[in-house]
């Protein structure tokens, strides 16, 4: 019975192990590079949020600044700050060169 109890999974602190061979292209690397930059966050509903990425966590919950909500290419709302619940996120795309 030398089996120690594994630590509880802590998704917020989750960082995937670096793949042995691959270059630095993992989701974690991407996110480090994109914080503070303009991004497009598309939800599964098709609604887009364009703004500056403040931060995010392991659930893909997102904090955006200077956010514009786009529906079918039309701005439908503006928010100074916005918290987006991660389960709605389809993708996060860089809107300026990284």
């Amino acid at each position: 019975m030398d089996e120690s109890t594994p630590p509880p999974p802590d998704i917020d602190a989750y960082t995937p192990p670096p793949p042995p061979s691959a270059s630095t292209g993992t989701p974690t690397d991407f996110l480090k590079g994109v914080v503070g930059k303009k991004v497009i966050v598309r939800l599964t509903s098709g609604v887009d949020y364009r703004g500056v990425l403040s931060c995010l966590d392991g659930y893909m919950n997102i904090a955006l600044e200077q956010t514009e909500e786009h529906v079918n290419g039309v701005v439908t709302n503006r928010y100074g700050d916005a918290f987006i619940r991660g389960n709605n996120v389809l993708y996060i795309s860089a809107a300026e060169p990284l």
């Binding site: 917020d12 914080v35 503070g36 939800l43 509903s45 949020y49 500056v52 403040s54 931060c55 995010l56 966590d57 919950n61 997102i62 904090a63 600044e65 956010t67 928010y79 100074g80 700050d81 916005a82 918290f83 987006i84 619940r85 389960n87 709605n88």
Partner: protein, 97 residues
């Protein structure tokens, strides 16, 4: 590490800083709420007071080319409300500028 300007380390900080403030909440099913945020948890379950709910009811017109229909807006007020977190899409705190 170095979040821009506002000193927010993680997304939930935005919500924490909005406690006792009036927030805007966008929900699944074309619903929106504004209310004073009293409590939240990691699921984004929320307790709001002095709430106004706005419901967008879309009647798609048959044969409409652009997929648009007439939108009816219904509003109602609630004194105190529990919001289940899985319905939450977006929370926007009052502007801190």
């Amino acid at each position: 590490m170095d979040p821009s300007s506002s000193g927010i380390q993680e997304p939930f900080d935005l919500i924490r800083l909005s406690l006792s403030e009036r927030v805007f909440v966008k929900l699944r099913g074309d619903r929106e709420l504004t209310g004073v945020l009293h409590a939240y948890d990691g699921h984004m379950n929320l307790i709001l007071s002095d709430v106004e709910e706005t419901i967008m009811i879309v009647d798609p017109i048959e044969g409409g080319m652009d997929g648009q229909g007439t939108v009816k807006v219904a509003k109602r007020k609630m004194e105190m409300l529990f919001v289940r977190g899985d319905g939450v899409i977006l929370v926007s705190p009052p502007s801190r500028t």
